[in-house]
Symmetry: C2
């Protein structure tokens, strides 16, 4: 690990444990056996390090999503599943980076830096939106759902992992992908319930998949 990567990694750990506000440049320097001045060779200030952490994760998410959306050889549903996987798999092994990126995004207040991040985020929204709109046009997705709001809702499900998911926890990532895919595509309403029956061959097939009913033994919800 080169020195710059090392600084980013230690800073991520400190931001995650103590919060960005409670971490000083001295704290970070100490972790990599540098003086505060030594950090300046790599970063202008603390918020530069935070921006680096967030930008790296956001760019990786965006690159992955653009690749998924472009897969015109796949159906829109299959692309949606891959989009979910692309986002969620960032949390493992990059759990700490993603947690810090999500929690501390509002700590990047310097305008040029914030604008840099915002550009990536907007491109990400746009890519997911184009997937949903494309699916609506092709008849794969319902047209009565405003695609932008649906996109934000779906991104919210994904990003919230930073508050409850832990790579060492009992919940398998594959299970989360499956469940989020089910919610996004067919919802939680029971297809076989009374006069509100929603019939779907795929849904009942999925219901029989092993391991779907397993419950996590614990988790650490820390949402508001």
């Amino acid at each position: 690990m080169d020195r710059k990567t090392q600084i980013v990694r230690r800073a991520t750990e400190l931001f995650n444990t103590h919060g960005y506000a409670h971490t000083s440049l001295e704290d970070i320097a100490k972790q990599v056996n540098l003086r505060r001045e030594g950090i300046y060779y790599y970063f202008k200030d603390k918020s530069d390090i935070l921006t680096e952490i967030i930008a790296a994760q956001s760019k990786a998410l965006l690159t992955g999503l653009i690749g998924v959306v472009a897969r015109s050889d796949l159906s829109f549903e299959e692309r949606l599943r891959l989009a979910i996987r692309n986002h969620l798999e960032r949390f493992n092994p990059h759990y700490l980076e993603m947690a810090v990126a999500t929690r501390e995004a509002s700590s990047v207040t310097a305008k040029p830096k914030f604008r840099q991040l915002r550009t990536i985020w907007k491109a990400y929204d746009k890519a997911l939106l184009s997937l949903i709109v494309g699916g609506q046009k092709a008849g794969a997705f319902r047209k009565d759902v405003e695609p932008k709001i649906a996109a934000f809702g779906i991104i919210g499900m994904w990003q919230w992992l930073s508050r409850w998911y832990h790579p060492e926890g009992p919940v398998a990532m594959d299970q989360v992908v499956d469940i989020f895919y089910t919610i996004a595509t067919t919802g939680i309403l029971n297809p076989g319930s009374g006069d509100r029956a929603v019939k779907s061959g795929r849904a009942s097939a999925r219901r029989k998949m092993p391991g779907m009913a397993r419950r996590p033994r614990s988790s650490k919800p820390t949402h508001t």
Copy 2:
């Protein structure tokens, strides 16, 4: 507005604009025409004010949700819709408080305070979980969805409003409630699409509702 409420309100505005890390007790004091020492009459420190902001919103959400879950006169679907409404309507008029509560939750690092908040959040998770499990037992919700992960996904959709929703924006809260309800109950898959047909009388009725296809003219996504 009494002095304490005024302090909380001004602090919320400052935390929202500049971030918790970049707001000092002096900044807050100045906004309410007090010296820094004057704040100590009401709060021990800055994190006490933040805890007050978050606890107030979290408690209101919890009280509302418990009331909704207890409505055994309603179907589980109707209760789910009310649960969505209960959460989302916190963002209007309490948008700033909710934004700060969501973004800055990790800035509450003092253990007793964090534990106090965590207790409320756990109770909230538990209430939503009991609604989902109850609906699964009653046959209203699918049993192949692990209820805890579903609950976290659904809460994520709701909480993410703090990153893109603005009360003065073009998106009507009723529309967000409708769309999130659609996603959570039936998903975005087109009921009428080819061999993957999912038939539902309600779904097609909803598709004809006026105003559902309206797109927001703008929004301010600031997610990671």
